[in-house]
Structures are given as structure tokens and as C-alpha cells.
């Protein structure tokens, strides 16, 4: 990728421009694919990702990390860095779903079943986005859960269910999709009404400002949206 236009002055050597994107870890697969497309379209451009929890990324941005684009998994973390970003846009949504072990041995058919005290149910803790969503959902549906554990990461809910440690759990649809055959999803009434939104924004002090805007446009544009939907994300 050498020898093309030197772009917008972002510090590349030998004519390569690097775009620094901080993205929520749950976006890893989708964004890797998007980067391949984006680099193909922009010769001499290399996308370098920081994947981590959205709150870690927010901390890094506050700490002065050299970032051009921030894609968060929730609006709360985008709000934390509101002073450093320009004009966040929602580019994807996500909803919750019940997951069980493959084959659904406990014959769980809906949220009401999860209230059974004999079942080991795991959810996210209220402090993280998927936990907040779970609380809203159960309240709306009038169900009271007694979870065996309130995980701080969605991945840990997935692990517990796929390893058989828990009978059921509440995760995002995209996580369930990603896990493939390790878990089985159960239709969850009312889930569509509790939507989690993914905002994306360029940084005010982005080194490659134009390229950053191009990237945001690509993600919110048809190509990006297609990739995201393949991975199970909803449209904004």
C-alpha cells in the first residue's frame, strides 16, 4: 500500500495514512470486515483498531489517546466523552434475547420461565448496558428474576450458558448470533421494545479528520449497514 497520496497529514510513513478507530469489543468481527472494505476503497489507508470495553475506550479518550473515530456500544459512554467528539450518530441497534444450552433441556419458553427459583439464570449487572436493558425489560414484563450471578460483561453470560453452568441467560441478539451453535435462542416477548443504540462519532482533535468522516459515512452507509446486519445488528 505504498506510494499513493499522502492524505490528510495523519502521521503515516512512506505515504501510508493510518486511521485510528476505537470500537467496542462487541463490534470486533463486524468492524474488521468493514475495515477490509474501507481500505480497499481508500488506497494507502490503514485502519488501526483499539478494541476494548466501551468504558475503557472512553477512559482512553479522556486520557488523551490519539483516536480519530469512536464507536461505542451504548450512549452513556459516548456521553462521557461528549466534549471530545463531534456529532454522534446512531449506526446500529441491538435487542436482548434469552439463550439456553443447545437443545433447551429445561424447556424454557419465555421470560416468565426464568423466574423459576430452581433455575440458574445469569444476566448482566445493572451497571453495564445489557444489564440496564435487562432490568427495563423484566420490569416492563412484570417478571422478577433471582439471578445466580450478575455478570459485568456479556461474554461472561455467554460463557456460563454455553458451558452449562447456567440454565439460561439474557444477552444481545448479536452475541447469540456470534456464539452460533453453542447456545440456543428463545423468543423473548417485549424484547423489541428495549432497544440499545450504538453511537459513532469523529473526535474533535482527530489527526485524519476527513478520513474519519469518510469512515463514519462508510459505517452508516449501505455497505457498512449490510455487514452489521449480517452479524445480527438492527438498523437505527
Amino acid at each position: 500500500a505504498c506510494g499513493s497520496d499522502s492524505g490528510d497529514g495523519s502521521g503515516g510513513e512512506g505515504g501510508t495514512t493510518t486511521l485510528h478507530v476505537a470500537a467496542a469489543a462487541s463490534l470486533t468481527e463486524a468492524f474488521e470486515e468493514i475495515a477490509t472494505d474501507f481500505e480497499a476503497e481508500h488506497e494507502g489507508v490503514e485502519v488501526e483498531y483499539q478494541f476494548a470495553g466501551s468504558s475503557d475506550l472512553a477512559t482512553q479518550i479522556e486520557g488523551g489517546a490519539q483516536i480519530d473515530v469512536f464507536a461505542s456500544a451504548d450512549e452513556a459512554n459516548m456521553d462521557k466523552v461528549a466534549d471530545s467528539v463531534e456529532d454522534p450518530q446512531i449506526f446500529a441497534t441491538n435487542v436482548l434475547t434469552i439463550i439456553t444450552e443447545p437443545g433447551n433441556p429445561k424447556k424454557i419458553s419465555g421470560l416468565d420461565d426464568l423466574a423459576d427459583p430452581d433455575l440458574a439464570v445469569v444476566v448482566c449487572a445493572e451497571q453495564v448496558p445489557c444489564g440496564a436493558a435487562a432490568t427495563t425489560l423484566t420490569e416492563q414484563q412484570g417478571v422478577t428474576l433471582d439471578p445466580a450471578s450478575e455478570e459485568s460483561k456479556v461474554t461472561d453470560v455467554l460463557t456460563k450458558v454455553s458451558s452449562g453452568e447456567a440454565d439460561a441467560g439474557l444477552v444481545y441478539v448479536t452475541d447469540a448470533t456470534g456464539a452460533g451453535e453453542d447456545v440456543e435462542t428463545v423468543e423473548t416477548e417485549g424484547a423489541d421494545e428495549v432497544v440499545n443504540s450504538y453511537p459513532i462519532a469523529t473526535l474533535t482533535d482527530a489527526a485524519a479528520a476527513d478520513l474519519a468522516e469518510d469512515f463514519v459515512a462508510h459505517v452508516t452507509g449501505p455497505e457498512g449497514q449490510k455487514v452489521l446486519q449480517d452479524k445480527g445488528f438492527g438498523t437505527p
Partner: protein, 259 residues
């Protein structure tokens, strides 16, 4: 024999590496928010749980790890280096993977867990699981520190004790262990600290239920999602506490010891 004075130069470097960031951290603590945070039920639960489990884990490490350290240092049996390498594994295993290992072993579907559940013993989601996770990650610290200390011991002291009629047990408790006191102490401190700070394995294996399995590091991690400053303040509590405990242990033990 005083150590050479210029050692202070690199030592000051070491102190700076540790102390300057702590100062930096202190400047960013919001003291006002400390009190309500500390007295919240969730924090207190987490604090107490952490202390209880870390103490139990450290005791377990001492109980199981001390014999192993002595055998590693003294014995000349085959497979010794293989075993030492194995004991080191939890050191380098990412804690989350350590948690997964425990899960595949003691979990409901695990190698042993299946039989345990059949026998009516459930470990998952209990405080026992926390202790198990902490012991798993902390054990190598005790074993390695202590092994180094035992290697440095003059075996003729134990021989003297033997001809004076001391049984192996008496030799161990009255001669070997007191003589490796400093090594055992620092090993225990390292193990306690590691247990107290344990996060990844606990989260993966024991989960995070308030008062039962949500230790202080887990609480801090959660708190951080909502309010980073509160999380830092809470961490400082953990730090002060650990430092006080460790400091007290050291002060008591080094007074009587050799100069």
C-alpha cells in the same frame, strides 16, 4: 555491612515507578464522594467478602503450598522440574482462562463437578468458588517465594535438630519454618495480595452476586461502568486496607528477626 550508598540511585528509580503514579492517582480522587460510597451496602458487602475469602485462600495456600515448596527445594525426585513448571502455570495463565479451567473442572458439567453435584455439593456461584479461584491463582506465589528461601537454608541446622532427637514434624515446625520465616512471610503476603486483587478467574468461575461472590475488585469494575471516580476511590480503600494489613504483619515479624 551497610549496602553501598549509590544503590539508592536505582532504588529511587524503583520507588518513582511505583510512587509517582500513585500520587497521580491521588490527585484525581474526589474525597467528597468517598464517605457515602464506603458506607453503601454494596461496598461493605464486597469489602467483607474480599477480606474473608482472601484470608481463607491465603491459609489454604500456606497449608498446601508450604509442603510442596519444601519438597521442590529439597527433594531429588524425578519429575521435580516438570512439577515446578506446572505449578507456575497459573502465574501466566490469563486469569479469565484460569476461570474457564476451573469451570470445566468444578462446574456443573465439569470433570469433577458432575460427581460433586451428584453428591450434593455445589461449588458454582458460591463463596467456595471464590476461594477456589483465589487459591488457584495465588498458590504459585507462595510456592515460588518459599522454595527460594528453603534453597538458601543451611541443611546442617536441620541435621543438628535431628540428632538432638527432633522428629521430622518438630524439625519442620521448630527449625525449618522459623528459619525460612522471612521467605514464608513474603510468600504469604504475595499470595494474600494476589488473592485480594483477583478478578478475572473469579468473574468467570464464581460469577458476581452481591455478598456471595462479588468481591471488591468485581465491585470496583462494575462501579467503573457508572462512575470512574467512585471506582478509583473504592480502589484506594482496597489499597489502604491491604497495605495496613501487610504492614502490620511485617512490623510484627521483623522486630524479633535477625538484623
Amino acid at each position: 555491612m551497610r549496602p553501598p550508598a549509590w544503590l539508592w540511585l536505582p532504588a529511587a528509580g524503583a520507588v518513582l515507578v511505583v510512587v509517582v503514579p500513585l500520587l497521580g492517582l491521588l490527585t484525581s480522587v474526589d474525597v467528597g464522594s468517598l464517605w457515602p460510597l464506603l458506607t453503601s451496602e454494596a461496598s461493605l458487602d464486597a469489602l467483607l467478602l474480599s477480606l474473608r475469602t482472601a484470608v481463607v485462600s491465603t491459609l489454604l495456600c500456606i497449608l498446601l503450598g508450604t509442603p510442596l515448596a519444601i519438597l521442590l527445594a529439597r527433594g531429588r525426585w524425578p519429575g521435580r522440574s516438570v512439577l515446578r513448571a506446572l505449578v507456575l502455570v497459573p502465574l501466566v495463565l490469563p486469569p479469565v482462562v484460569g476461570g474457564l479451567a476451573l469451570l470445566t473442572t468444578f462446574g456443573r458439567r465439569g470433570l469433577l463437578g458432575e460427581h460433586l453435584v451428584a453428591a450434593g455439593v455445589t461449588i458454582s456461584y458460591t463463596t467456595t468458588a471464590v476461594v477456589l479461584a483465589q487459591t488457584f491463582v495465588a498458590l504459585p506465589f507462595l510456592v515460588l517465594s518459599l522454595e527460594g528461601a528453603v534453597r538458601g537454608l543451611d541443611p546442617r541446622q536441620e541435621q543438628a535438630a535431628a540428632t538432638l532427637g527432633a522428629s521430622p514434624w518438630r524439625r519442620l515446625t521448630r527449625v525449618t519454618l522459623p528459619l525460612v520465616g522471612p521467605g514464608l512471610l513474603s510468600g504469604s503476603v504475595l499470595a494474600f495480595a494476589r488473592a485480594l486483587g483477583e478478578f478475572g478467574a473469579t468473574l468467570t468461575f464464581a460469577g458476581s452476586a452481591q455478598g456471595r461472590t462479588r468481591t471488591l475488585p468485581l465491585e470496583i469494575y462494575l462501579q467503573r461502568e457508572v462512575d470512574q471516580d467512585a471506582a478509583i476511590a473504592l480502589s484506594l480503600v482496597l489499597v489502604v486496607l491491604a497495605t495496613l494489613i501487610v504492614g502490620a504483619v511485617y512490623a510484627r515479624t521483623t522486630k524479633g528477626g535477625p538484623a
